[in-house]
Structures are given as structure tokens and as C-alpha cells.
């Protein structure tokens, strides 16, 4: 029942083979070893597993591998910045103290990334709306919203 799909994962073309009924979350974490994407609830409520699929932020725990098509483009936290060079959103999350325990951080950054790609100058309320599906239990969200707001007004390219 394994299925092979030609995906673009973090900018690289990849032929990925997995069980059609596997969750995309598990394919990312187990097959592709991209463990930056986290599982918090497994039912689409917490947003810790947020990734970007063809430009839209999605809960990777709610999509089955078999639902993907050849040519689908997935971006995870590993695809936007890393050890050598942080993405500006990652820089602002660090600087503003927007990450505490860090478990929601990758999903939160991906939701913010999807927002800024579409809407580079969001209002305060648009930011709140955009990450309303991502639960954080540590920060009270204030510093997360500040980090996204500062990144948006810094004129850096997302």
C-alpha cells in the first residue's frame, strides 16, 4: 500500500515513498527525519504541526500522505533558516523572547511566514487572526505578536 509521490520539500525535489494512510506529519518526522515539525494534539487543534503546503498554512496532522499530489510543495521550519543563517522571523522570535519552551515555535513561525508571504504589512489584528490557530501555553502571545509585528515593519524580505 506504499505510495510514491514526487514532492518539493523545502525547495528540493524528492520522490517520497510512504503508506497512503500515513499522516503528512509522520512522513515529515519519520520518513524524512524533519523533526522540527511537532505534534501537540494530533487533531488539528494546537497548530504545533503547522507547515506550508502550496503556499497555505496547514495542520500536517490532518492531511494524509495519499491526499498529496505530484509537484506539491511543502515548506517546514527546516526550510526557512537554519544553523548557518536564521530567517528574519527566527531572529525576531529570539530577540523578542517569543520562544519559551519552544514546542509551539516552529508551527508558530510557519503560520507567521505564510501570513507575511501573502500580506507583508499586516495590522496587529491581522497578525492575531493569522496565528489564532496556534496554541502557546508559555508566553501569553504578547511577545510572539511583537516579534511578527517587528519583522513585518523591518523591511526585510521574507
Amino acid at each position: 500500500m506504499g505510495k510514491s509521490i514526487a514532492l518539493i520539500v523545502n525547495g528540493k525535489r524528492k520522490k517520497v515513498k510512504a503508506h497512503a494512510a500515513s499522516r503528512v506529519l509522520d512522513v515529515l518526522r519519520e520518513t524524512l527525519k524533519l523533526t522540527g515539525t511537532k505534534e501537540g494534539c494530533g487533531e488539528g487543534e494546537c497548530g504545533a504541526c503547522s507547515v506550508i503546503l502550496n503556499g497555505e498554512v496547514v495542520n500536517s496532522c490532518l492531511i494524509l500522505f495519499g491526499q498529496l499530489n505530484d509537484g506539491d510543495d511543502i515548506t517546514t521550519i527546516e526550510g526557512i533558516g537554519g544553523k548557518k543563517k536564521l530567517h528574519p522571523l527566527q531572529e525576531y522570535f529570539l530577540e523578542c523572547g517569543a520562544s519559551q519552551c519552544g514546542i509551539c515555535t516552529p508551527g508558530m513561525i510557519m503560520a507567521a511566514y505564510a501570513l507575511l508571504k501573502k500580506n507583508p504589512r499586516p495590522t496587529h489584528d491581522e497578525i492575531r487572526q493569522a496565528v489564532a490557530g496556534n496554541l502557546c501555553r508559555c508566553t501569553g502571545y504578547a511577545k510572539i505578536i511583537e516579534a511578527i509585528e517587528r519583522c513585518a515593519t523591518s523591511n526585510v524580505k521574507i
Binding site: R29, G42, E45, S99, G102, I103, C104, G140, A142
Partner: protein
């Protein structure tokens, strides 16, 4: 050097923002299997038989029961009344009976579905009232898990001397910690028949102690290491000892690493919650607002086993009279056993419950004597030199009044409060503090607005003689390359301990922060600093590290034969001559602190952090929805070692407390949790977050590291009463039970019409 007081970027931050930090579920070991527990589905009774469905191929998996436990079948916490696996009597839904390990999680879950348990069912005890009435005795001789009492002055005489006596009963519900990373542990067979653990935990040494007993092994055969922890809030204080027990028993039997990760539903079903509470107040007060007598009764629902309940009750008990001066105080507290999963540690540890009661009650008193809530608090607020209910005389570091005045001034409390209560006559606005919040949005049509205040404190470190008994250890190692390593069992769980402790060390030694790192908390590598709980890490272990730093400087100077020169040159010459140097010190209690465990008299805490919260709410007159528009939080933390992280604690803790105040409500039916998922157990999102205005107040504590006190739990203490007091200001309805849901407000409203409509 100026490292303390700076917003140093968290040292574990880069790993976290890039997704490279390894949480337990990210760790894979060769040959690793996955474990699950088969659990009871009834709250009370006994197991008649366990039936393994012959249609499942049991040869593919490993099954362990209580006979596979090498040592004693107990999970050691304060008492040893909780078995790891059900032996005879079932005390709550979700107790483990049998454990299964399989090559994949899917197969382990499949196996679990093929086990059937047959029971004899007994009538469960599900409420404090039933437990107290001894409907059935399920614990000891009277269902009481612990009990405390103190009596100061003459309460009866105090009531006689009062102009008014005000009574109230206050209730709070269970609250789920809702860390976003569920519980998880990996156990592996170690050297010499031992076990090595890695997982999500607050207190590696608690697990070590529990495993020694459970596995019948000396600690030399065991190691417990913390993985990156995705939030804990008390929920990973005691429970990981249970999960570590399951995984270890399976790993020993399967002879391979076994990973156990709970999914969200299982995590919510079986792990600890905040204790539900009932607190009764009877207060005598003079016409001028002076408190004369307080009689307080506290009852907690402990759940099925002792776990940490005696200390939770103790802390709640010791905070129950609030930050007020009163000559005659009687407090009685008891925790009762019920057939619910055990309740345990959650940020605040009993104090949020009793502070909710006293702070909601203060507003009721103010109303009855016709005084503003601010003025009543101002008159009775504790100051240096005052005596608390335990006889503790406050010697220093009491910022309560400054917090009160600053929060009131920043929020314009008196003016706004009077606007909702036009009959009350004027008080002064106090000192001037300008708020930096943007203008509030225009009031929506069909709503009423109100403002509420609360004043509170939180004792730093263990209660009473706890720290003196614990003697928490920590150390600093001067490495060969001249850098420094902090050695502590205290864990980083997001609160920032592994940034703040290096900041303290860097400051004390006069080196840049980049020269200091923290060793991973691993029981085989670091000293036992005591658990990462009780707002104690910065204040207590930070202080131990200051002492270590002084000792290191002394040793380096002694070796160099000079007491001048900077740390780097002294360290350089020491390393050349003698090599690396490790200094480990233990906590020495604050001089002049006395506590008597038997009479509960004396200095309950070496120092208190103080806070004042003001909430502004908007209530919809048709739907009864309650929206918190703004919160003002003035908190006295002694000294903010890392101001940004202090803000992070206050913002996060306040939002958790708002969740508890307004929406978080564990519902049970016959001992079964009904809302075991984020779809039904609602926690605040960005859309529920009000504007938060922080005012940091610093009244240094002379025995704290550079003046610092605890901040971790304080923010959970004040938001709930401020919100219900604001609802009362808006609607005239006093909510005495939280969460203050629209349904509850509607019920209260049916009894009383909106004043403003």
C-alpha cells in the same frame, strides 16, 4: 559586568527557533519499541480478571504486569500509597493494570484493544462533600489526606469587636496544565542491569528516587536525563515518575529501549490537574475598613492518592489570608480523597485557589461597608514590620503597597471603578503612572464595562523548613579552555532557568555571558539541586551559585597568592598550574529564619514576591460573554535578572490564570473526564488575549542572588479574582465560582437583573 538586569537572549533559543532542539519524541534509538498502558475504565472496584484475546498474536509483543516489577510496586512521592500497576483495589479511571511494548506504536495500540478487564464495581466517591461525609472510606480512616490548622490571637473576641461580619464561599475547578508537548519518556537497559532514562520532566532526581524503590536498584545503576521540555507548569513535576516506571519495567522485560509518548487524550485523562477547592471566609471588619478577625476554612479535592497534596494544601493554607494584616486569624485546611485521578502540582500550587477566595471576598467586604476595594486593600496591606498569620514578622522586601498603588494609578482604577458605581464617594488616584497601552476600543453596543483589582503574594522556595532540609546543591566548573559550566539538576522548561542562572554566574565572576554554559540535567552528571518547582530556582539555586562563585574566586586568588586581578587572568594561571576546578555548594538557609513544622508557626517563606492585578472587562448583556480588554500587572520580583524573561513569565502566567478564570473547566461524569481534548478543553488563543500592561517593581531581597526573588508562580495568583471583581463592577453580580463562564453568569443573572439595564 552588567549581565544581570540585561535582556540576554535565551541560550537554548537558536535550537528552538530552528526546530533543531530535541524533545523526547524527536529521539530515536536503535532497536527502540513503543509502550502503552492498559487502563481501568471504572473509578472504584477491583479487578476480577484480565483476558488476552487469543485472536491477537501476543508473541509479537512484550506484556508486563505487576509481577514484572523488580522492586516494590509503588511510585514514591511524599507517601508510598500509589501503586505503579493496580494490585487489588481500583481507585480511579485510568490506572494502569498491564503494560505492552511493541515494535511500532500502532501495533502496541492494536494489542491494547485486545485486552479485556473484568471488574467488580463499587460505588465511587466523587465529590469533596461525599468524601467528607465518609460515604465510603477510601483513604485511611476518614478520607483525609492531610490537614492543617493555625489559630492566631483570639478570633471570637475579634468578631465581637467588629462593626460588620462578612461571609462568603468560593469555589474553583480543576485545571489542566495543557503543556503543548505531551508527557513522554524513553527507558533503555543500561550497564550492569540498570536503566537509563531520557524524557520530558521537571525533576530528574524525583524520578531517580522513585526508580530506586520501584526497580530495587541503587542509584549507581540508574541515570535520568532531561530532554528539551515542551512546557510543564507543574504537570511534569510528579507524574513523570509514573511514566518512567512504566517505561523502565517494559525496557527491562523487552531488553531494549522503550519509548512511551502520550497522545493528548491520554495525557489529559490520566495526568494530574490543579486541585478543585472550596474556601469559606468569615471576616470581622471595622467601619474604617480595618480587618479584625478572619476565619478561613479550606477544602481540596485530592483525587485518589496522596501524591503532592499535603504540600499543595500547605501552600494554599499559608496564602489564604492574603497580603493583609489582621490580629486574629484562624485557618483550617483539609484535603479529601476521591475516586478521581490524583490532582497535583500546577503553577501556584494551592495559592491561586485560596488567593482567589480571599481576593473575591475582599471586594464583598468593601461593598458591605461601603468602601472602595482599593482603599480597603490600602488600609490593610502588609508592610515591613507587620505580622502574618503564622507569626512571621516581615523584615524586608515587601513591595505590596507599591504594586497596589502603581497598578491602580496606571489603570486609573478609582475613576473607572466609580464610573461603574456612581454612589461611591471619592478617593485619591494615588501616584501617577502613565499607561503605555493604546486607547481601548470603543465599547461595543449592548455591553457593560467594569474594572476589578486583586492584591496577592507568593512565597519563594519551599514552605517552612523545606529548603533547610533539602540543602539543594549546585556547582560551577572551570573548564580547561577557561569557560565555565553551571552544574545543576534544575531544569529548563521554557521559563529561562538555563539563561538566568548563567547570567547570575557571569555577573558574580565578572565574565561575559558567552563564557558560561549549562550542563544537561542528568543525574549522573549534576548535583541534586532539588526539584524545579516552587519559584525556587532563581532565588534559591541562583543564591547557591553566587556562593559557588565567591568560593571559586577565593580558591583562584589563594592559588595565585593575590586577591587582585581579573577573573580571566586568575583562572588562566590556575588552569596552567592545576587544571580544571569544580566547586559545589549547598543551600544555607537565610539567617534568622525559624519555622516549626508541628505548630505551623514562624517564617513560612524566606521571602515573598508581591503583585497587584487590575482587569478591565466588557460583558455582553445578551450573550453574557465576558471579554477581558486589558490587564495591568504590577509585580515585585526583588530584582529582574532578565527583565524580558520576567515579562514572559508574567504575561504567560497571567493568560493561564485568565483561562482558569473564564473558560478552562474539566468536566467529569462518574469519575470520567469528559473534555480530554483541545476541542472541548478550551485554553486561551491570541484572540482571547487582552492588552497586557506590565509594571515591574523591585524591592530587593538581601539573601536572594543580587536581590532576586521568585516570579514563576506569582502571575497565576491574581488574574482570576481581578476578573470576577471586574464582572461584579460591570454587572453587580458577584461570581463566587470559577470559571466564570457565560452560562454561570447567566444563572446568577436570573437571580438578579443587570443593574445597568
Amino acid at each position: 559586568m552588567g549581565v544581570v538586569g540585561q535582556n540576554a537572549v535565551r541560550l537554548d533559543g537558536r535550537e528552538k527557533v530552528t526546530g533543531r532542539a530535541l524533545y523526547v519524541d524527536d529521539i530515536v534509538m536503535p532497536g527502540m519499541w513503543h509502550g502503552v498502558a492498559v487502563r481501568t475504565t471504572i473509578p472504584s472496584g477491583k479487578v476480577l480478571s484480565v483476558v488476552f484475546d487469543p485472536r491477537f498474536n501476543w508473541k509479537k509483543v512484550v506484556v508486563a504486569d505487576r509481577h514484572d516489577i523488580p522492586g516494590r510496586n509503588v511510585v514514591t512521592m511524599i507517601e508510598e500509597d500509589m501503586p505503579l500497576l493496580v494490585h487489588d483495589e481500583i481507585r480511579h479511571i485510568g490506572e494502569a493494570i498491564v503494560l505492552i511494548a511493541a515494535p511500532t506504536k500502532k501495533m502496541a495500540e492494536d494489542a491494547r484493544r485486545h485486552v479485556e478487564i473484568r471488574y467488580e464495581e463499587w460505588q465511587p466517591v466523587l465529590t469533596i462533600e461525599d468524601s467528607k461525609a465518609k460515604k465510603r472510606v477510601i483513604h485511611g480512616s476518614d478520607n483525609v489526606i492531610s490537614r492543617y490548622k493555625i489559630d492566631k490571637g483570639d478570633v471570637s473576641a475579634g468578631f465581637k469587636d467588629s462593626d460588620a461580619i462578612v461571609e462568603g464561599v468560593y469555589r474553583t475547578g480543576a485545571q489542566e496544565q495543557a503543556y503543548i508537548e505531551p508527557q513522554g519518556i524513553i527507558a533503555s537497559p543500561g550497564k550492569g542491569g540498570g536503566v537509563d532514562l531520557v524524557g520530558s520532566m521537571q525533576c530528574p532526581f524525583y524520578i531517580l528516587k522513585a526508580l530506586e524503590r520501584l526497580l530495587g536498584m541503587s542509584e549507581t545503576k540508574l541515570s535520568v536525563k532531561q530532554a528539551t521540555v515542551g512546557g510543564a507548569f507543574g504537570g511534569k513535576e510528579d507524574y513523570p515518575s509514573v511514566l518512567a516506571g512504566y517505561a523502565s519495567v517494559l525496557a527491562l522485560k523487552a531488553k531494549r529501549p522503550v519509548k512511551m509518548i502520550y497522545d493528548r487524550n491520554e495525557d489529559m485523562n490520566v495526568t494530574t490537574k490543579r486541585h478543585p477547592s472550596v474556601v469559606r471566609h468569615r471576616t470581622g471588619v471595622k467601619k474604617n475598613g480595618m480587618l479584625v478577625a478572619m476565619d478561613i476554612g479550606i477544602e481540596l479535592d485530592a483525587g485518589a492518592y496522596t501524591t503532592l497534596t499535603p504540600v499543595v494544601l500547605s501552600r494554599g493554607f499559608l496564602h489564604s489570608a492574603g497580603p493583609y494584616r489582621c490580629p486574629n486569624v484562624r485557618i483550617a485546611g483539609a484535603a479529601f480523597a476521591t475516586n478521581a485521578p490524583p490532582n497535583g502540582a500546577f503553577r501556584g500550587f494551592g495559592a491561586p485557589q485560596t488567593l482567589f477566595a480571599v481576593e473575591a471576598h475582599m471586594d464583598k467586604i468593601a461593598e458591605e461597608i461601603g468602601m472602595s476595594p482599593l482603599e480597603l486593600r490600602r488600609i490593610n496591606c502588609l508592610k515591613v514590620g507587620d505580622e502574618m498569620a503564622t507569626g512571621q514578622i516581615l523584615k524586608e522586601s515587601v513591595g505590596a503597597l507599591e504594586c497596589l498603588e502603581k497598578a491602580a494609578a496606571a489603570s486609573g482604577f478609582e475613576r473607572k471603578w466609580r464610573a461603574s458605581l456612581p454612589l461611591c464617594k471619592g478617593e485619591s488616584e494615588g501616584i501617577e503612572v502613565r499607561s503605555t497601552l493604546p486607547d481601548p476600543p470603543l465599547q461595543r453596543e449592548g455591553t457593560v464595562r467594569g474594572i476589578g483589582i486583586s492584591l496577592f503574594m507568593h512565597g519563594g522556595g519551599f514552605t517552612g523548613s523545606g529548603e533547610a532540609k533539602m540543602k539543594g546543591k549546585a556547582g560551577i566548573r572551570l573548564e580547561r579552555d577557561g569557560k565555565l559550566t553551571v552544574l545543576t539538576g534544575c531544569t529548563e522548561m521554557g521559563q529561562g532557568a538555563h539563561t538566568v542562572l548563567p547570567q547570575i554566574v557571569a555577573e558574580c565572576l565578572g565574565v561575559p555571558l558567552s563564557c558560561v554554559r549549562v550542563e544537561t540535567p542528568d543525574t549522573s552528571k549534576v548535583p541534586d539541586s532539588g526539584p524545579t518547582v516552587a519559584s525556587r530556582v532563581t532565588m534559591v539555586i541562583g543564591k547557591v551559585l553566587c556562593v559557588c562563585a565567591e568560593e571559586m574566586k577565593r580558591r583562584l586568588s589563594e592559588a595565585a597568592g593575590r586577591d587582585h586581578g581579573d577573573f580571566r587572568s586568575l583562572a588562566g594561571s590556575f588552569l596552567k598550574k592545576r587544571g580544571p576546578l569544580t566547586i559545589i555548594e549547598a543551600y544555607e538557609p537565610t539567617p534568622g529564619i525559624h519555622w516549626d513544622d508541628t505548630t505551623y508557626h514562624g517564617d513560612a517563606y524566606a521571602a515573598y514576591s508581591w503583585g497587584c492585578d487590575v482587569a478591565e472587562v466588557e460583558v455582553d448583556k445578551d450573550t453574557f460573554e465576558i471579554k477581558v480588554e486589558r490587564m495591568y500587572m504590577a509585580h515585585d520580583v526583588g530584582r529582574a535578572v532578565n527583565p524580558q524573561m520576567v515579562e514572559g513569565q508574567i504575561e504567560g502566567g497571567t493568560l493561564q490564570a485568565l483561562g482558569w478564570a473564564l473558560m478552562e473547566d474539566n468536566r467529569y461524569d462518574g469519575g470520567k473526564l469528559l473534555n480530554n481534548r483541545f476541542q472541548t478543553y478550551i485554553i486561551p488563543t491570541t484572540m482571547d488575549t487582552p492588552f497586557l500592561e506590565l509594571i515591574t517593581v523591585e524591592h530587593p531581597f538581601s539573601h536572594g542572588p543580587l536581590g532576586a526573588k521568585g516570579v514563576g508562580e506569582l502571575p497565576h495568583d491574581g488574574a482570576a479574582p481581578a476578573v470576577v471583581n471586574a464582572i461584579a463592577n460591570a454587572t453587580g453580580i458577584r461570581i463566587s465560582e470559577i470559571p466564570a463562564t457565560p452560562e454561570r453568569l447567566f444563572e446568577e443573572c436570573k437571580k438578579k437583573h443587570f443593574r445597568s439595564s
